[in-house]
Amino acid sequence: MTNRVDGPLKVTGQARYGLDHNFPGMVYGYVLTSTIANGEIESMDTTAAKSAPGVIGVYSPFDPLILATPTLGAFGPTWVPLQNREVAYYGQPIGFVVAETFEQARDAAMLVEVGYQQRPALTSLEEGLATAEDAPEVRGGDSAELAILEDGVESIEDAIAASPVVVEHTYRTATQNHAAMEPHSAVAIWDGATLTVYSGNQAAHFQSQEIADALGLEPPAVHAVNPYVGGAFGGKARASAPAFLAAAAAKVLGRPVKAALTREQVFTATAGRAATVQKMTLGAETDGTLIALRHDSWCSTDIGRGFVEPTSHGTSREWYSTKNLAISQKMVPLNIPPTTFMRAPGEAPGSFALESAMDELAIALHMDPIELRLRNNSTAPPGKDLQWSSKHLDECYRIGAARFGWANRTPEGHVDGDWLVGMGTATAMFPALRFPATVEIAFREDETATVGTSGADPGTGLLTVLALVGAESLDIKPDRIDPSLGDSALPPGGLSGGSTATASAGTAIMIAAAKLIDDLLALAASPEGPFTGQEVSYAAGRVLAGGRSMSFGEVLRAAGRKSLSAQGSSAPGEELTKHSFSSFGAQFCEVRVHRWTREARVSRLLGVFDAGRIINDQTARSQLMGGMIWGVSAALHEGLEIEASGRFANADLASYLLPVNADIPADIDVHFVKYPDTLHNAMGAKGIGEIGTVGVAAAVANAIHNATGIRVRHIPIVIEDLLVD
């Protein structure tokens, strides 16, 4: 167990997040947002704002900061503000006021009068279902509609009709927001032709490229710095509106600019998770064997159709062995803020539907829900020849059932005083992925080594992982490693997204370390080295030859070198043609529903995870625990209410409910079955950032049903759902 290496800086206030940077002459930008959801800006009267105290710049579509639309290969185009007069959602950035102080900028922004040509806005997912569009190609290149049928079966309808036991229900999940504690923000400062941007983001090299593209620069001219990121969860993959605006305004004004969204603006001027509607039809033999699994999904999306929440493709496509499978994904474009990746995009809301339906099927079959899941345990995704590289879901369930006391569960729950107590379970899966990553490591003459890559550690523990994997690969103690990240000047890698950073950067470290050790040995045996012409070997940070040994620092000093560095790169490759890859888990939940108030409280949680090798037990446990609490939050707390006007009714932290300490039980147990998956990558680690949240909302709903007999097919589940006559 290793404590988080940046812990001491974070507990003393010394970790400087983006907005913690202050510079002489710095001015403050305040973003102005729209108050209609669809239409055109006819006018913006900025006269009063311009003459308000301290104001030095007011920008609008009529007097814009010029920004081009950047396109990142991985994400497609990124919207930049102020470039036209179109308004596509309520809360869209439409102006930027810069003043000497924050208070002056904020107060002046209130003086801007905006005139709109308003158009009717589409804001209801339910109303849009009838005119839903097919989603474009979904994850993995699958088409939106996909059917895998047994030989001789004509249609999924036939397979369902031939099933002795069928459950069919529709499930709904709410619009959500990442709500990272750090609002999207930036400090931008120019030095000649070079711009430095301090802004919390999931990958410094992406942020650098996006801002460079927007300003018509080459990426080396934009130095993105974000060693500390105040939470991201998918919501900071792209450069934010304040980052683009601060960068451009700082250039025009010749002053450093600090800009942050208000908390209320974070809900609209960034991007969030789509709402979903999912119709599940499960057909089974009386012994529980799945004959048919049909999962039809609809999600909201922004009017630009920027993102699809792939609930069927993210779950039913791969999770169970079924003789017949049919999935579909449709989208409903609305005048709502952009939708995007949010922790387990697809898997989180998708698993609420699939794993609730599996529970309903188990009840219909009078079968234990764990037994039903194991009965349909898959060795490969349906219709694919590529078997799971390493899958121990059955062991997760066995261990979990024993640790949680599942044997004490009864089909009707039990009563404890005024509390109705129930237990629920659900499967969790999240694909094991890697992205290309490059890491540079170096030996230094002072007996330390550096490990650096540009990606981010928004609380994941990646910085600590860099130190641990670096130490292991160089066979030295972790306290001799000086890890760094969050800087676009470092080699590109370690993007915080898709639960990939550890597997991606870690594999690159191993490759770099092997090169670096070879280079050190070559240097030692070279004419300038201390072991010229000798047969040399390396162990525990030392070079050995002819019965004597020297530390790497001594070798460097002897050769007159301050440091020696090597880069290693890794990327997904041939393994993708041989196996399917995923992390697996079994989620367990105990819920107590008050007999009279109908308040639902989660009293215990257990997650047992098969996520390959765990590099750092402590931070891994924390991350999974946090993910599981996200699942509780989705089940019982979070949901944006969209008014007909397109305005979010509860876009602040008082009314967009997130769990607080008293909502969460102290009894949250995380357990790992540790099977390194070296078919996936040499290090054997799979992802853990997202799987923790998958399945939990269903486990909560299933536990509530166990406790009360009430099946709620939407989240969040609120007291009104549990009232009885």
Binding site: D6, G7, Q14, Y17, M181, Q618, P659, I664
Partner: protein, 154 residues
Amino acid sequence: MDISLEVNGRTEQLNIEPGVTLLDALRERLDVTGPKKGCDRGQCGACTVHIGGRPVLSCLTLAATVTQPVTTVEGLASDDELHPMQQAFVDRDALQCGFCTSGQLMSAVAAVEQGVEDVREFMSGNICRCSAYPNIVAAIEQVSEQVRQADATV
């Protein structure tokens, strides 16, 4: 207006507008950036500091109204040694992204000083989106236990 603030043992003179919050005075005028702005509405707790030894939301406090000494997370440690609560947060991994941590720590220190009975309830004004809640409670219990043992030996 001219005001003076005592922050972490140092007296600071400031000329500010009356509407400037303590949080913005600390962060933007004094470069004391440990307290964070997560909401600016008293809803998240990331800005929590101590005024006269009591936890206060600095985003809801006008700087000009502050007469007692202010302690921020930067003022907790002494002589290069972490405050026991800071050490407990590191030991128990009571943080992930760290953005709420300054505020959590100031509330946690107050929880132990006030000997609160229901720690989870007391800490519920500090949101942690990474959801380190069980570890935060464990850190507070670690320090409470240290205090109990120290009291017992006295």
